[in-house]
Symmetry: none
Subunit: 111 residues, 2 copies
DNA sequence: CAAAAATGATCGATATAAGAGGCATAAAGT
DNA sequence: ACTTTATGCCTCTTATATCGATCATTTTTG
């Protein structure tokens, strides 16, 4: 019964919340109800609520389906130049002292 | 017993495959084995394999954790967010020691 | 305003993802 | 060459995410 509760990094939580919020916003802009979108994705309304709240435990495929159905870009397809620059940035970020990264708010657990 | 098999759009499949591939690549670049990364994320090796294969049914939190642990940047989609993020980055860059910025090539001799 | 629709929240049942392990093959290292 | 180490791919079991329903608010609309 007592399995360790899973922990997620701050980055994960932030990203999930951002993505869920985007989906919710895009859905409303398209004037769809939760029931509307849930039906189109083929999931229960309660599941869509979990998605829009950014719960870490929902299946990634369901999240991506909802996102694409309301037109939220999933990127990953960024231009090469942007991709390499972001990679460079994240590499460099690892060099920052923990105190600085904490101040930035993007300290994800270890290193 | 006879629940409909779930279907996913091509975009979802492509994005998942791309993301999984990037995680796999980044893991190898860091010379980590599947067992290494799986242990750090706190998941079974079989689950990590599912992630790197881009299976739609894995929990999104686990995928994002794996991605961040190996430094795969998660979606920075819209130009607006990109702008603010880059601004934040350049601010933070000013905090870097000169030695690091020189290594990055950001330091153009003078000052 | 009242009626209708949308949302937030909870819950039991059950389909299923994740874990743990095993085994064979492939790479890497010595 | 041999010996680790890593990977691919199974099965079985267990933990749990999803469903579908219900109810209370909140928001919209007529």
């Amino acid at each position: 019964m007592n399995h360790h509760p899973r922990t997620y990094s701050r980055v994960t939580h932030q990203t999930l919340a951002l993505l869920g919020g985007r989906i919710r916003l895009a859905r409303k802009q398209r004037k769809m109800s939760e029931a509307d979108l849930a039906e189109r994705v083929g999931i229960a309304r309660s599941t869509l609520q979990a998605i829009e709240k950014g719960h870490p435990t929902v299946e990634i495929g369901l999240v991506f389906e909802a996102a694409t159905l309301v037109g939220v870009p999933l990127f990953v397809d960024t231009p090469a130049r942007l991709g390499t620059e972001l990679a460079r940035v994240s590499e460099t970020m690892a060099l920052l002292p923990r105190s600085v990264r904490r101040a930035r708010g993007d300290l994800n657990d270890d290193f």
